[in-house]
């Protein structure tokens, strides 16, 4: 997609990054990405995609803002307390970057809406706090051959997995069963979520452009208590019910 004068002015300082340039910037502008949800992870994902120049976002998140959201959901405005979350982040994103197209969906991802939402976009960022939602997006992405960047965190730890259908392990290859002990409420510090978010955005930008090597069949895992980062190998499962046939 053609860059206009404003695009060139806004992104001037990143156009010299090897592998990005005007060509990569045009790709970013022509990209539509889905983010589910827009909490501690999804909020910074949305803002960093917007700042990088991704042209269009679909944000899916149900519910109203609560006090306990504000330690991490940095895309929300405090004036929107008790109001719809997704409307708040759509508003703050558009205030930050009026040229971006943003669609807010007042729903979380589930098995019945995942396929439709994924079909609208080129790339998916999986940032939901429940595996049920992550698995629904994973399945829809595999079925539609769309890449997905799965980012997650717990306490002071975080991880990022890139799913390229047919080429890498999918989320169901890595986690063949719904983790029974995972609970909706988890210890969370906003900076730990935001770190996973920024790594996820970088993986997304690399998937779209030629500015670096994407994590392929390895998951990045970090522990911020001692700032250790390492790559854990992942492997496709031939018997995976989601991607094994590819």
């Amino acid at each position: 997609m053609e860059l206009n004068e404003e695009d060139l002015a806004i992104h001037e300082w990143q156009l010299d990054i090897p592998g990005l340039g005007e060509e990569g910037q045009q790709i970013l502008k022509g990209t539509k990405a889905l983010i589910s949800r827009c909490g501690g992870l999804g909020s910074p994902v949305a803002f960093s995609l917007a700042s990088a120049g991704v042209g269009e976002l679909v944000l899916a998140h149900a519910g109203q803002l609560k006090h306990s959201d504000y330690n991490r959901q940095i895309g929300m405005a405090y004036e929107d307390l008790n109001k719809t979350r997704v409307n708040s982040i759509v508003k703050t994103l558009q205030r930050y970057k009026p040229s971006i197209k943003v669609k807010g969906v007042e729903e979380n991802i589930h098995a019945d809406n995942a396929a439709d939402l994924v079909s609208e976009v080129d790339l998916v960022f999986s940032c939901a706090p429940l595996f049920e939602e992550r698995f629904a997006m994973n399945q829809a992405c595999v079925e539609q051959n769309k890449p997905m960047v799965d980012a997650s965190m717990y306490s002071m730890e975080g991880q990022v997995l890139v799913v390229i259908p047919g080429k890498t392990a999918c989320l169901s290859c890595v986690y063949p069963e719904d983790p029974p002990a995972w609970k909706r409420k988890f210890p969370v510090l906003g900076a730990v979520s935001a770190l996973a978010a920024q790594i996820a955005v970088l993986e997304g930008i690399k998937l779209l452009t030629a500015c670096g090597d994407v994590l392929t069949n390895e998951m990045l895992y970090y522990d911020t208590t001692n700032m250790s980062f390492r790559k854990i190998p992942t492997r496709r499962r031939p018997d995976c019910p989601i991607c094994g046939h590819l």
């Binding site: 949800r37 909490g39 501690g40 992870l41 999804g42 940032c127 939901a128 706090p129 429940l130 595996f131 992550r134 980012a151 997650s152 965190m153 717990y154 306490s155 730890e157 975080g158 991880q159 890595v174 986690y175 063949p176 069963e177 719904d178 983790p179 029974p180 002990a181 995972w182 988890f186 210890p187 969370v188 979520s193 998951m219 895992y221 522990d223 208590t225 001692n226 390492r230 854990i232 190998p233 992942t234 492997r235």
Partner: protein, 91 residues
């Protein structure tokens, strides 16, 4: 011989440990070692790591940075580092 077990995710919270060193006898395999730790730490550890006495498939276990096949007994060696990740899904 001595081996190290490093814990991640909910296991860190549950055990209160980042890692621990264990003395094991020659020929001990991963499942046997983790079962002995489940006997020490109790039901929550057992449920996070085991299902029907087998290692849960959804945990990621590496031995010296290589993925462990949880269905095949893997014997341990002196100085091995076992890393056990329970799934994390926070956002």
């Amino acid at each position: 011989m001595k081996v190290t077990i490093a814990y991640f995710g909910q296991l860190t919270t549950m055990t209160g440990l980042k890692e621990e060193e264990q003395e094991v006898s020659e020929g001990t395999d991963i499942r046997t070692l983790l079962k002995s730790r489940a006997d020490h730490f109790g039901e929550a550890y057992q449920n996070l790591l085991f299902k029907d006495e087998g290692l849960r498939v959804s945990n990621i276990i590496t031995l010296n940075d290589q993925l462990v096949d949880k269905k095949t007994p893997t014997p341990l060696s002196e100085g091995d580092v076992l890393m056990v990740h329970t799934p994390i899904g926070g956002g």
